[in-house]
Amino acid sequence: MTDSIWHLPVSGTMNGLKTALFVGLWVLLLPFTVQAGKDNVPDLSGNYNVATLTPLERPKMFGDNLYLTKEAAEKIASDKADAIEASSQVSDPNREAPPDGGDGSRGAAGNVGGYNSFWIDNGDDAFEIDGRFRTSIIYDPADGRRQRTEEAAKVRIKLFAQFAKPNKGEAWWLKTGDRGPYDDPELRPLAERCLLGFGSTAGPPMLPVLYNNLKRIVQTPDHIMILNEMVHDARIVRLNSEHLPDDVRKWMGDSIGHWDGDTLVVDTTNFKVTSSFGGAGKDLHVVERFTRKDDKTIIYNFTVEDPAVWEKPWSGEYPWPRTDDTVFEYACHEGNYALGNILRGARLLEAETESVSSE
């Protein structure tokens, strides 16, 4: 590119002027062209779609086996295609309302179901690195699973018990005497409040989720910005910097980075205690390594530690394939009717329960 500028054929004053303007413009733009040439670091800029069907933790049946056979990987992709096809089938146009008392759906669908699969975009297959399909994103410990400390496991079970209450359309919390989960908007999960995406999509570590798996990386000599489509979370990594004082706490932690050869290393601490990630505490420490494998792929590697939560550090990796797709805005507060619906609904159920018990 530069050669073509410096070797422009020049003849006459006008051409000389044009060339001077052109060169001047180029010099002005130089600082924004990423110093890949100057510092000999790879340019990670671009959009990436990180969706994959491979889970974070390895299903127990695979034991210490990190790799899927080609046949198993093909079956996972084929089953996904079958499931999409099945979900695309015509419904009975004369169907009646779903069952009274709930449809029995579990998890976040909470006995009322979710929505059609055409809203979902969680990948088509398991990922592969160096031609081998993986059974899990986590590769260390050898069984691909995080081991919680005894204390952390207890906390998690208690939390799960609270959220796993069956949705019967009742204000069950009035009977427990405890603070209800809908008493205050700030008791609601961070995703519901549009503060962070669910499932550690913004991280760190940054993990694939059910949809909106696009990332955009913008690189300058001093900073790396990673925009997550989900809930518009933008991480800003300061290069060759120091961590902020311990009392400065952020939703996605404080990230500093440096180049280790061709690998960008990002170190993150100073998380808020209410970080959305896996019950981690204030001492959560994440180290991420971004390595460009080829011009279409970054290998994203990470190590997570928090001695209060996990017995030992654990590490994972998966590819970030480059995409030509656009990262769309996700103005989460724009249409977040759900939070109001949830809180108003809780007030109404409470009033009904109280009026029944006073009769």
């Binding site: 996904k80 146009p93 996700y330």
Partner: protein
């Protein structure tokens, strides 16, 4: 790989992509009342192509002949936008059928558990080449 392993892998795949017993941005169980199932039939009046979840408005005609406006919750519009579908892809006046559960706050809102055209075809789904989402089997 043993038969048991294959079956489990199939189970894993199915668990990962079964349509869709998950709503992710927030728990639908917190918002909707299992004791108020409903079926809504009527023309689309408006599409709110917003995040975190899109809302499709429709007008139903009750048994006594009076009209009522409802809105049903779907997923993120970004996924559909990426596939070339936008708010104008679903025109006002299009007759749709929705089954779901009413919001706990008793407003005229429901989850769009299954949103279809009048003949039962899925909204935004169809044969290849219609602008429908790719399913991995579309010809290039």
């Amino acid at each position: 790989m043993s038969i048991k392993q294959i079956a489990t892998v199939a189970g894993i795949a199915l668990a990962l992509c079964t349509p869709v017993q998950l709503s992710a941005h927030h728990a639908f169980g917190a918002e909707f009342d299992p004791n108020r199932p409903l079926i809504l039939r009527g023309p689309v009046t408006k599409v709110e192509w917003v995040n975190p979840h899109a809302w499709i408005h429709l007008e139903i005609t009750k048994e006594d002949g009076t009209k009522e406006s409802w809105m049903v919750e779907g997923g993120t519009p970004n996924t559909l936008l990426r596939r070339g579908i936008n708010k104008n892809s679903l025109k006002p006046g299009t007759f749709i059928v929705v089954d779901g559960y009413q919001s706990k706050d008793r407003s005229n809102r429901a989850n769009g558990r299954d949103i279809t055209f009048a003949d039962g075809r899925k909204l935004f789904m169809g044969s290849s080449g219609t602008g429908a989402p790719e399913d991995g089997r579309d010809p290039n």
